[in-house]
Subunit: 115 residues, 2 copies
DNA sequence: TGTAATATGTGGCTATGCGACATATCAGGC
DNA sequence: GCCTGATATGTCGCATAGCCACATATTACA
């Protein structure tokens, strides 16, 4: 991944959950922070629109995989911090295995070595 | 990828093009054969429904990435064989790089090592 | 005769990412 | 005081693509 190329929209579908769950595993984070982390860690290759990210967080909370709470501090806008629930942790494990299986399946079919 | 688990539907989106283009690269193949190859090479982990595969082949042909022709032989049902066009070959190269970049981006964000 | 595999095709449903737009706070420059 | 940009969250409607269910036809085999 040398040049910053915007990645295919369809390819991203279904990967967002794994990314979000992974990022809130070590510590609670708020939505904007998650979005920026995805962008920075991928060196700009991967970016999720706010119109994707916030509804996703809402879905993950509704499913009981994340727990969110509002935090208001003086000198800061309101933020909603999300932490991983026990069930979210189990789902993350399943998604990690699922992702590895998927990458391996594509490798087997295409004969591609991964970067 | 030990046990044959059906992979997440959303995860598959966007990967089908790369798989099909890869499979018809060395030789022309027909739709049913492509479907079976995906299933066998991935050891059953990845499977595309006919309702995904045939419309996809139609789209790839319409875009000029594949060229299809009907082949009828005695003792066989009619088959539509697809071969890669020169443009399809260029697209395949782009998609391979895009896939590698995507996998690498997910790895950077999640810290996951791929299987 | 019946079942399974081969081979292709379609209508409607669903899930999800995105463009465009909206709102509000805060920092910094002019 | 005003403007711009970053921070922070949110929604409406659109487009894409995989799937369920169903349909059709031929061949192979018990």
């Amino acid at each position: 991944m040398r040049h910053i190329r915007r990645l295919d929209r369809e390819l991203k579908k279904g990967s967002a959950e794994l990314l979000v769950l992974s990022l809130v595993e070590p510590q609670p984070r708020h939505g904007y922070e998650i979005g920026k982390l995805i962008e920075r860690r991928s060196q700009g290759a991967l970016r999720f629109n706010a119109a994707s990210l916030y509804p996703l967080l809402y879905r993950l909370e509704k499913r009981g995989w994340l727990h969110g709470r509002w935090v208001e501090k003086a000198g800061q806008r309101r933020r909603r911090y999300y932490r991983l629930t026990p069930e979210g942790r189990r789902v993350l494990g399943r998604q990690r295995r699922g992702w590895a299986a998927f990458v391996e399946a594509v490798r087997l079919i295409t004969g591609l070595e991964h970067a």
